[in-house]
């Protein structure tokens, strides 16, 4: 019984370690897109993405900034920004910033 409880606790701990921010979080699996920001610029003709990645909840690298996402698509006027959070067992996580604009 103690072993089972230990495994569950360790699993929950590990899962929560690598979870990215998201409006709703699944300890085992998260794949959520949500809105982040909106401006008065209505038109979007370009889309850019920037990404950050984490492994095992121990190592995290990348650049998920608005600036990089806009730069990747040559966007100078941002229309709105979405984000995508993806996590599997807390072992592998990615966080994407998706910028729309012109």
């Amino acid at each position: 019984m103690k072993k089972i409880l230990f495994c569950l606790a360790a699993g929950a701990f590990l899962c929560s370690c690598g979870v990215t921010k998201s409006p709703v979080i699944g300890l085992l699996y998260t794949d959520v897109v949500s809105g982040k920001a909106v401006t008065s610029n209505k038109l979007a003709t370009k889309v850019g993405i920037s990404t950050a990645t984490a492994f095992l909840g121990l190592i995290a690298t990348g650049d998920a900034s608005y600036q990089t996402a806009a730069k990747n698509a040559g966007i100078t006027k941002i229309s709105h920004v979405d984000e995508r959070s993806f996590t599997i067992f807390g072992l592998y996580s990615t966080y994407e910033t998706i910028v729309y604009g012109e």
Partner: protein
């Protein structure tokens, strides 16, 4: 206990490897003046050239109703490689398209250079390219020329994915 750890790791690798899930590969934004479709970056083109490091990653932005789409890509080289033109060639090296490249940025990273550029090309041509049996070749031309192509197995998966997204464009326009 080791078995469970292995199972979790295998499941993770399988999930991560299965990034072909279509909803994660494109974005679709409806707006006045035409829906915007965006195929997320696909790091699939390889080069045999020693100057080229890593794979070339491309993404496509298409504003519905327009004749052209924006084909944007990131490429990595040992030294700065500013390009002037982008050529798309068939598997047999016949030129299908040549367009002027717009460089977004050139920046150093560790011991190599990361460069991002874009070319505008006819949407119909793009749709046709992905219907071919073999991968087309991207030829980046500046002071020198570097070619990139997908491996046959990668091309098979990639063309199916892109054609399915083009179907989304067709049915929602």
């Amino acid at each position: 206990m080791n078995k469970y750890v292995l199972l979790i790791l295998l499941t993770t690798v399988s999930f991560v490897g299965n990034t072909q899930k279509i909803h994660r590969q494109y974005s679709f934004y409806p707006q006045e003046g035409g829906n915007v479709y965006f195929i997320h970056p696909q790091k699939v083109f390889e080069s045999g050239n020693d100057e080229a490091l890593n794979k070339l990653a491309y993404d496509i932005t298409y504003l519905a109703g327009k004749d052209s789409a924006s084909f944007t890509f990131t490429y990595y080289t040992h030294n700065v490689f500013k390009i002037d033109f982008v050529k798309l060639l068939t598997d047999k090296k016949d030129v299908l398209f040549e367009g002027k490249a717009i460089t977004y940025f050139i920046q150093p990273e560790k011991n190599y250079w990361r460069q991002r550029a874009s070319v505008t090309l006819p949407y119909e041509l793009l749709a046709k390219l992905f219907q071919e049996d073999n991968s087309f070749i991207i030829s980046l031309t500046g002071e020198k020329s570097v070619n990139y192509q997908m491996k046959p197995k990668v091309w098979k998966k990639q063309s199916q994915l892109v054609l399915k997204i083009f179907d989304v464009v067709k049915y929602n326009s």
